[in-house]
């Protein structure tokens, strides 16, 4: 892009221009070469300011013993080297063991949530692919959970999950008699399912939206040809729809994974600052390790480890999926 922009005006100057003008033209060219960078500079600095500086500070904090005595002037906090990291990855000691448990819960939760979000979103998008009366209305309705403010949506779920007066127990226990006694959803082991339910409810409309968009790009002729060859519905989905959606799905699954893994709002609004063990997601765990126990050093160390993990996963995922695609394309 830069080269075309540069060549354009040069080509426009008359070829028989006096020699005396040449040096000036060269400085002009140098100016023009600099211009894009100059124009990028504010954005670059803003990017540094907004993203990189806090990240660097966060990484720095993870090497400090930043407890309550130092938070007022935290440059005075003593350096602890790798102390915070050693503590967080020592899985035989309580802090490390708790982090590992929280990490495993998060991985399990994320895999389930992403799989369900994708499945429901894709299924709904496929059902709504053909035109019928009320399709627009249904599409709009399906997007409601995605459009609602998180806090309002999750607090509604809190009310529904309440033990004594909640709608969930009213339906499951009072009406359907599926449980012997009303279950607790916000404390104890069931909290995992409560969290999963809310997360899927909140996340699948996004999958639906993206897959719907992806479906618009599949040429209708493919389906017509398949129909002529006698392919059934499942065959058409398996051989045309899903392979065509592959690039869309690649991004969709990655984005869902990152969002779900890092989700803080849902567990925090559902359970407050002390999540039950069964639903102790790593984001809330880190929050508790830093804000509630006022140890920002270990909190930062945990965050950095989490960042590294997500980087590795994302990198590996992109590598594997793109290689697979290249193989398929060849």
């Amino acid at each position: 892009m830069t080269t075309t922009a540069l060549q354009e005006p040069v080509r426009g100057t008359p070829s028989g221009a006096p020699a005396a003008r040449r040096p000036r033209r060269r400085t002009g060219r140098a100016h023009r070469a600099l211009l894009p960078y100059l124009l990028l500079l504010p954005a670059l600095l803003l990017e540094l300011l907004v993203h990189l500086v806090p990240m660097v500070i966060g990484v720095m904090m993870s090497f400090k013993e930043l407890v309550q005595i130092y938070i007022r002037d935290w440059s005075s906090a003593p350096w602890s080297g790798l102390g915070n990291y050693r503590m967080t990855v020592d899985f035989h000691a309580p802090v490390g063991a708790a982090l590992l448990h929280s990490f495993l819960v998060t991985v399990g939760f994320t895999l389930l949530s992403v799989a369900l979000c994708w499945l429901i979103g894709t299924a709904a998008a496929l059902f709504l692919q053909d035109t019928f009366r009320g399709r627009g209305l249904l599409r709009a309705l399906f997007l409601v959970p995605y459009a609602l403010p998180v806090y309002a949506a999750v607090i509604t779920w809190v009310f529904m999950f309440q033990h004594d007066n909640g709608l969930v127990n009213h339906v499951l226990h009072d009406q359907l008699h599926l449980t012997d006694k009303p279950a607790f959803w916000l404390i104890g082991d069931n909290s995992f399912y409560a969290l999963l339910t809310v997360s899927v409810w909140k996340g699948w409309p996004f999958a639906f939206l993206v897959v719907t968009a992806g479906l618009q790009n599949i040429p209708g002729e493919l389906y017509e040809a398949a129909a002529l060859d006698g392919a059934g519905m499942w065959q058409r989905i398996a051989r045309i729809t899903l392979p065509s959606l592959r690039p869309v799905n690649q991004v969709l699954v990655l984005v869902l994974f990152l969002w779900t893994f890092n989700d803080f709002n849902t567990p925090y609004v559902l359970f407050g600052r002390a999540a039950p063990d069964a639903a102790d997601l790593v984001s809330v765990h880190i929050y508790q390790a830093s804000f509630v126990t006022w140890n920002f050093g270990t909190g930062s160390a945990m965050s950095v480890l989490l960042l590294l993990f997500l980087l590795v996963v994302t990198g590996a995922y992109l590598l594997i999926t793109s290689r697979g695609r290249r193989g398929a394309d060849a």
């Binding site: 002009g28 100016h31 023009r32 600099l34 211009l35 100059l38 124009l39 500079l41 504010p42 600095l45 803003l46 300011l49 500086v53 407890v67 309550q68 005595i69 938070i71 007022r72 002037d73 935290w74 000691a93 309580p94 802090v95 708790a98 309440q162 033990h163 004594d164 607790f184 916000l186 404390i187 104890g188 082991d189 407050g272 600052r273 002390a274 039950p276 063990d277 508790q288 804000f291 509630v292 126990t293 006022w294 140890n295």
Partner: protein
Amino acid sequence: MRSIRAAATCAVTLSLVLAATACGGGSSAGGGSNDAPKTLTYWASNQGASIAVDKQVLQPELDKFEKQTGIKVKLEVVPWSDLLNRILTAATSGQGPDVLNIGNTWSSSLQATGALLPWDAKNFDKIGGKGRFVESALASTGAQGKDPAAVPLYSMAYALYYNKKIFAEAGISRPPATWDELTADGKKIKAQGKSVLGAEGSNLSENIHHVFVFAKQHGADFFTSDGKPAFTDPKVVEAVKSYVDLMARDQVIPTGDAEYAQNQSVSDFAKGRQAMLLWQSASANLKSQGMPDSDYGIAPVPVRSGTPGPGTQIDSMVAGINIAVFRDTHNLDGATRFVKFMTSDDEQKILNKAYSSIPPVTSAQSDPAFGTPANTVLKNTLATSAAALPQVPNESQFETTVGTAVKDLFADAAAGRAVTTDSVRAALQKAQQQMPAA
């Protein structure tokens, strides 16, 4: 050409401005100043039934202060769920209010951060001297041997609130004075189809307040005298177990209360579904929920045997709110004058009446409003049988870790799992391991 140069100039200028503002964000770590003598920012805690109520109560008083001193006070009422985080953020950045309310149990933890102005004798003299304040309230203003980090503003104590009508129907003539009596009364109350006692099993602070009192009654402490956590002390384990047993064994606390954290137990009581409630200064709250004063009685919190008093007869923590000056204030003199104003006899009477709390200022307690039977119970409790929560720098962490342990134990009890000495010890052990090394 000219337009390109203009664009480049713009870009460079913008970049320079950005860089300059990025560098200028820091603050000096020095003490307060008097840069802004005409304004004050005040973070009030949420004492009334809602934040709107607090504004109605406080604004006229702030106007009064402005008339007296010419200092305009900008009020922000911060909900409890946010207050501690807001204070921590303010402490970290140096950008905060001038004057603020803190939960009195946080005094030592916040004192350790150095974010609050220490109240040495000189500062206390400016507001009329330390002697004006009730001793038990002063006990919850910071670590022993250090200058207090804050000044008592409102005092509260736990009491047993009981529904007179339910008691009459169940044939109970007087409120229970011991836990055994409470359990026995519970059977009669349950026979009437009402629940017995409310609790906020998922509210970490409430859990702490109760297990602290239970520990005192068992002659135990959560911290050793040199400030080290001792959560697995057999007496502490026994104390925590006996509190959770109110649900697990004695079944006086309904299992549903295990997930309560938003004062649902108060509304259960106000709606007449539940016979008893252990709460601090609940009158204003109950009134706002439509329960008239005449419907309930107030008695001291039960003890194991005998009557409330010092030592193992403690039946309440010293609950209350302290007012503090932020060390990085830009109006040090004004802030001190504002604390003096808020702790003056007149304001103490007005504000504590509005919030149904007890003035921590001795001379303000003489007002007849604080001599009602309800307030007499609270006043006596504060004077004779209330103890301050541990004044250690790790108090805030203690509330979180042990509060969570009790929450988990309640969850076990609610799910029908056995709560045993071993399971309680294991939960407390885990809590202790999460405490930062002292």
